[in-house]
């Protein structure tokens, strides 16, 4: 694709699939400091606003027969609550607001990131790594507070034959520490990949301006591809939020009931 772009000359196709992920200050150029208002700030604020609109303004009626917005809010509530209860158990419900926060933040950030010209906060490894580390630390701390040294029995698979146990323990420890890595990279990678693919197809779309012959074939195909990938990305946006949340619940279950 690079040669094609070059062959079309300087005014040809421009591929910058990663530009959409750049963190830029909102006002003026310059360094991105700690408290600078950037597009990250803007889109996180929009995420918060969307959650506020759905869960607070949407339920303002407190109607017994819910309005449409209210039923969506109730649906989200029931969905996450049931997930926490089913996977982590009844005593996991203490963490329900925390998990609900994670779920809603990721879901809304993913979906808002799909808007054209939007910035996807969850496509950044810095953001997802913090989310995953928060889960990791919560799980570890809760495990040790609830069970003390007994939490280490999570790594000692008592159902396995004795000679295998040290090996399994090593594997379990490694997999335990890899969890936050895979947890964060899965989300960021999925988001990044989908958006980059859409961007690549979008770069093919103006082909008809450069060369009518090839463009007649390529442009409709790439537009169709954008639409298809976009639909898939909507699904992925939801599924990744769901997966992140349910894995959080699974890890939490490990912390609450380490004996498996």
């Amino acid at each position: 694709m690079a040669t094609e772009a070059q062959g079309a000359g300087d005014g040809g196709l421009v591929f910058h699939p990663m530009d959409q992920f750049m963190v830029k200050p909102l006002f003026g150029a310059g360094e991105v400091g700690f408290f600078t208002l950037t597009n990250v700030t803007l889109w996180m604020a929009l995420t918060v606003a969307a959650i506020f609109a759905l869960l607070v303004l949407g339920t303002a009626g407190r109607a017994t027969i819910p309005s449409r917005t209210q039923s969506i809010a109730e649906l989200a509530y029931d969905f996450v609550r049931k997930m926490v209860e089913d996977v982590a158990g009844k005593d996991g419900l203490v963490f329900f607001p925390y998990i609900m926060t994670l779920f809603l933040f990721i879901l809304f950030a993913n979906v808002l990131g799909l808007l054209p010209m939007a910035f996807t906060t969850t496509s950044h490894i810095a953001v997802t790594a913090v989310l995953a580390m928060m889960v990791f630390l919560t799980v570890t701390i809760v495990g040790f507070v609830r069970h003390g040294a007994g939490f280490l029995s999570l790594f000692w698979v008592s159902s396995a034959p004795l000679p295998l146990r040290p090996v399994l323990a090593l594997i379990e420890v490694i997999s335990y520490f890899v969890r936050p890595v895979s947890h964060s990279i899965r989300l960021a990678g999925n988001m990044m990949a989908g958006h980059a693919v859409v961007k690549v197809f979008a770069a093919f779309a103006p082909m008809i301006i450069i060369s009518t012959g090839i463009g007649l074939l390529v442009t409709p195909l790439s537009i169709l591809a954008i639409a298809t990938i976009y639909a898939l990305e909507l699904l992925v946006a939801f599924i990744q939020a769901y997966v992140f949340t349910i894995l959080t619940c699974v890890y939490l279950k490990d912390a609450l009931h380490p004996h498996h």
Binding site: H16, M18, D19, F21, M22, V23, E31, V32, G33, F34, F35, T36, T38, V40, T41, M44, A45, T47, V48, I51, F52, L55, V56, T59, R62, A63, T64, P66, Q70, A73, E74, Y77, D78, F96, P97, Y98, M100, T101, L104, F105, T121, S123, H124, I125, A126, V127, V130, L131, A188, M192
Partner: protein, 173 residues
């Protein structure tokens, strides 16, 4: 690519690995998460939980009320059925009474008619017997007269007593 200095931001490097923006992102992420957490735990979740609980209560109450109404409907139906059955027995009773009354009247009338018929029959038989007796008397008289005449015509002397005894014996035989 890595050897190039980052002259133009767009040209090189993955934006995700630009560590100079990490602090900014993490700071705003934490702000956003804390805000969402407080929105959820202070306002949204208790409210939704209350709404759901209230709805559950309403549904339970409505179900109980529906159950009550159902029981009442069953009772009403039973009462209706009972009333119907009562009315039916009442009607049957009345019918039976009427029937009995009519039958009694009829019997009485029949009896009266029977008696009358008997009386008439008896009267008729009596009249018939009288007529028959009368006829026998007449026949005897005629036979006595004829016998007396025959006896006198043959030259005998007709004794009234013996003639009548002979006639009587003859008629009996």
């Amino acid at each position: 690519m890595a050897s190039e200095p980052q002259a133009t931001e767009s040209a090189s490097g993955l934006p995700q690995l630009d560590f100079s923006t990490f602090g900014n992102q993490i700071f705003w992420l934490l702000v956003a998460l804390v805000v969402i957490y407080f929105i959820l735990s202070r306002v949204a979740l208790p409210r939704i939980a209350a709404v759901l609980a209230e709805r559950q209560g309403t549904i339970t109450n409505d179900l109980a009320a529906a159950e009550d109404l159902k029981v009442k409907a069953v009772e009403a139906e039973e009462a209706y059925k009972k009333a119907l059955a009562d009315a039916r027995t009442e009607a049957q009773k009345i019918v039976a009474e009427t029937k009995a009354a009519i039958k009694a009247d009829l019997d009485k009338a029949n009896e009266k008619a029977d008696q009358e018929i008997k009386a008439r029959t008896a009267e008729g038989e009596k009249a018939l017997a009288e007529i028959r007796d009368g006829a026998l008397e007449a026949v005897r008289d005629v036979a006595k007269d004829v016998t007396a005449e025959l006896v006198s015509a043959m030259g005998g002397k007709a004794d009234g007593r013996s003639v009548s005894a002979a006639v009587t014996a003859r008629m009996k035989g």
